[in-house]
Structure formats: C-alpha cells, structure tokens
C-alpha cells in the first residue's frame, strides 16, 4: 500500500472520530482510566519488587543473643559465628543501642522501654561474603547455642513478595475487567461508524475495493482511540513519577534502597501503555469489523 492511500485512511479515521463525538470520548476515557490503573499498578509493583530485591541483597544477618547467655557463652558464640566460612565480618549492637535505633525510627513512645524494661536483645550483625549466602548463614546460626532468633533481609523480602503477589492478583482482575470494558466501548464506537458508512462500504465493495482497503480506516480509528486514550495516563504517570521519585529518594538517601530511576523506567511504561492502548483499540475495532462488515 502506498503512503497516499495510508494518508487517506488516517484522514478518514480522524473525521470519523470527530463525527462520533460522545461515543469517541467515552471510548477514549475508558482506555484512559484502564491504562491509568495499569500504569500505576505496574509502577508500584515494579518499585516494590526493586525494594524487595534491595532488601534481599542486604547482606547482613542479625543474630539475637539469648538473654540467659553469660559473658563466656557470648564469646563462644561470636567465635563460632566468625568460624563460618561465609561470614566476612561481625559487628555487635547492644540492646540499649537497638532500642535507640527503634526510638530513632519509630518515635519516643518506645522511650518507656528504656532500662530494665527493654524488650530487645543484644545482637551480632554478620556480613556475609556474598548476598545469596545470607539464608545459609542464618540457618547455621539458628542452630547454635544461646541464639534467641535470627533475622535477615530475606524474611522481610519474602513478606513483601507475598504482599505483592496478592496485590498483583487483585490488580490483574480489576485491570482485565477494565480492558474488557474499554474493548467493548471501542467496538461500539466502531460499529456506529460502520453503520453510518454502510452505503459507502457497499459502494466500495461494488467497485472492487479490497477488503483491507475497507478495513483499514476502521482499524486505524480504533487504534487512534486507544492511542489518544493512552496519552492521558502517560502524561499523568510521568508527572507523578518524576515528582514522587524526587520526594521518596530524599527519604531513602543514606540507605542502599532506591526506586527505579525514571530513565529508562518511564520510557518503558510509556511505550507499554501506548502499545496496550493501540492493541486494545485495534482489538475493539476488529471485533466490530468481523461482525458487521462481513469482508
């Protein structure tokens, strides 16, 4: 097909979108709402995933020391831990320091636990030689004497992954329902176009237009509705992400946790949303073309 013909099809589609007025607006809005949700879900999930991975890669294992441990038990435990091949270094944090940390991050209400009421343990903080060994070291430490408990990034990460799974499943159901609505609305819009142009289509067929020649304007109309609908969430998500990224990264400064940088992450989301928009649009119009055009 030559460029002139394509250009003609595109002009036809724009005319038709204008002519269908409210129907086009409804279809565009449906796509916009759908993709706004899709985009937000993806942005949140991908970042949660990134954080969980960051946490998982946090190489430290925290070994809580039983309150019953005497000084020599403690020294023995430290030696045992240091003897593990996978352990690179050992740090110590007393229960008083631990409480200060808690008060530092969660607030002064925890101040009443100071002194003998302190519910926390003394802690050995182990750094492993490489991130994937944390679980292994944690398991070995757990079996040692006078160990009250072991904690490592992996546990938190697992919990995060679990929450994300739930969010993802619920989100997927909502998004699928919305995509159906959008496809349905686009199919309806295209159906109206097809009906309003039935004489024209009949004549096109009579004088020997190929089926694809007849289909193209409708396909493009659907794709355009999807594309225009995608532009709105692309704008909103880009703006919010850029602002949100700066704000959140300020909070995270000093930690090794980070959100996905807007570049290239935003580019991927933009491409994905525009892509989904066009696919939804073409799908909607294909449905109508098949049913009502019989070409």
């Amino acid at each position: 097909m030559n460029i002139k013909t394509m250009w003609r099809h595109i002009k036809e589609s724009f005319k038709s979108i204008k002519r269908n007025g409210w129907m086009s607006i409804a279809a565009v809005s449906a796509v916009a709402v759908t993709l706004l949700l899709v985009g937000s879900f993806i942005a949140i999930l991908m970042n949660a995933n990134k954080l969980a991975t960051d946490i998982e890669e946090d190489v430290s294992v925290r070994v809580y020391i039983d309150l019953a441990a005497e000084e020599e038990d403690r020294i023995q435990l430290e030696e045992d831990l240091a003897a593990l091949d996978e352990v690179e270094s050992i740090g110590f944090s007393s229960r008083a320091e631990e409480l200060d940390n808690v008060i530092g991050s969660y607030g002064d209400e925890f101040g009443l636990f100071e002194g003998d009421d302190n519910p926390l343990y003394d802690v050995f903080v182990l750094n492993t030689t490489s991130p994937e060994l944390t679980a292994d070291v944690a398991n070995q430490a757990e079996d040692m004497n006078y160990v009250a408990g072991v904690n490592y990034g992996g546990a938190t990460a697992d919990r995060l992954f679990y929450i994300m799974d739930t969010v993802r499943n619920v989100g997927a159901i909502i998004i699928i329902a919305l995509i159906f609505t959008a496809v349905f609305l686009i199919a309806n819009t295209i159906r109206i176009t097809i009906f309003s142009r039935s004489t024209e289509i009949e004549i096109m067929k009579l004088v020997g237009a190929t089926n694809w020649f007849i289909r193209w304007p409708f396909l493009i109309e659907g794709a355009l509705i999807g594309f225009i609908g995608a532009l709105i969430p692309v704008g909103i998500i880009s703006y919010v992400y850029l602002r949100g990224f700066d704000t959140i990264m300020r909070y995270l400064s000093g930690t090794y946790f980070a959100l996905l940088p807007p570049q290239p992450f935003l580019y991927y989301i933009i491409a994905l949303l525009l892509g989904i928009g066009v696919v939804i649009g073409s799908l909607g119009s294909s449905l109508s073309i098949r049913r009502f055009l019989k070409v």
């Binding site: 067929k205 009579l206 004088v207 020997g208 237009a209 089926n211």
Partner: protein
C-alpha cells in the same frame, strides 16, 4: 466471456430463484433480461458480480470461476464488472466529481489518472458542467448518468444494469438508453434487466426471457414479452 451452466440458486429461506439456468454471453454483446416479477432476473445478475453465490453449477466471467473463487478475489472480479441500479446509490455528501473519483481511489488509481478519467466519463454522460454539484441537486436522470459514469470509470469489460430506467420518466429513460448504447459501441458488454417494453422493442438486441429461474426464451433481436 460469461458462461453459466446448469446453475441453481436456492436462498437460505428455501426459495429457489434460479433453477437450472444455462447461458453464454460474448464480449461486446448487448443483452436484455426480461421476465415477470420474481422470475429471478436480479438473482441472475447478482451472480455475475458474485453478490450471490450459485448453490450448484458453474458461473464463469472472463478468467474468474465464480463458484470456486476465493473471497479475496472478489474485488478483482468487480473491477471488470460495473454495476448500475434502479436507485443510483450515489453518496449524498460527495459532489458528482467526488462520487466518481471515489470509485477510482478505492482501487488505488493515482490522482492524475483519476482526474483525467473522471472528466472523460463525465463528458461521455454529458454532465461535465455539473461536476461540483451534489446528487440532491440533480434530476433522477442526471443521477443515473453519474452512477453509470462511476460504473464505467474503472473501464470494466461488462456493465450490468438492473432496471436502470425503473425510476425514470420515459423521456429520460431514452436518454439513459442512448448512453448505454454508446458505451456498448465502445466494446463494453451490457446486460440490462428491464420491464420497459418500448425500449426492448425499439432498440433491438438479444433478449433473455427468464421465467421460474430458467431461460424460457433466448432470441437475437428479440421482442419484449413472456408467457405468464
């Protein structure tokens, strides 16, 4: 050029409109199709441009075998077969010029070819001075001329007309008839279904009288008329 043999057409509702029809029409012929209402004239005509598919038998138009043709080939058959109807079927929002140009655009002709040919066919049908008018600004006869101009714009080898004068007064009908004659003289096969006995009897051509879905009479230079 057009060959039908042992053709049957049964519509989904059970009516058999064509019932064992045989006919052969050569390139350049002018053929009238006459017969009572419901005889199957329109069905016969629709099978030539593959609007209807025969239930049984073979229909050949040029190199196209219509009973065994891929759907995707239909557009290419139709570029060889122009069609004109009683109700013109012009697009009301387009001018005379655009109505004809449109038919050429959709088959991918380039703008230069289109402009040249549209003016040529408008000249032939005598409406060159009304290129910019809209269909509702034209008389019935003029609208039918535009429809004919459109049908021949892509230079089909066959022009089919199903009661082209059905909506026109006798005077205007004669004008359309003259035009079809002229197109026929340029070598285009013309197949015309009609109830107009004056025309058939005055401008003599081959007559196919269809009755009950069969050719009841096939006569060179024939007269209008049928038994029932």
């Amino acid at each position: 050029m057009i060959v039908m043999s042992n053709v049957y057409k049964k519509y989904p509702n059970g009516i058999t409109a064509i019932n064992g029809l045989d006919v052969k029409i050569d390139q350049g012929e002018f053929v009238y199709v006459v017969g009572p209402s419901g005889a199957g004239k329109s069905t016969f005509i629709k099978m030539i441009y593959r609007e209807e598919m025969p239930t049984k038998g073979t229909v050949k138009v040029g190199e196209f075998d219509l009973a065994n043709m891929k759907l995707s080939k239909i557009p290419f058959l139709r570029r060889h077969v122009g069609v004109v109807f009683q109700d013109f079927k012009l697009l009301p929002k387009m001018t005379v010029y655009e109505n004809i140009a449109y038919a050429m655009q959709v088959v991918g002709k380039n703008p230069k070819q289109i402009q040249k040919r549209v003016l040529e066919v408008l000249d032939l049908v005598g409406l060159k001075h009304k290129v910019k008018m809209f269909p509702n600004e034209l008389s019935g006869g003029e609208q039918q001329r535009v429809a004919i101009a459109r049908a021949i714009a892509n230079m089909p080898r066959v022009l089919i007309a199903d009661e082209p004068t059905g909506n026109l007064d006798p005077e205007t009908a004669w004008g359309i008839m003259d035009l079809l004659e002229e197109i026929n003289n340029q070598g285009t096969t013309i197949i015309m279904a009609t109830h107009n006995s004056d025309i058939v009897n005055s401008v003599r051509h081959r007559v196919l009288a269809v009755e009950n879905g069969r050719i009841a009479r096939d006569q060179e230079q024939g007269e209008y008329g049928y038994e029932h």
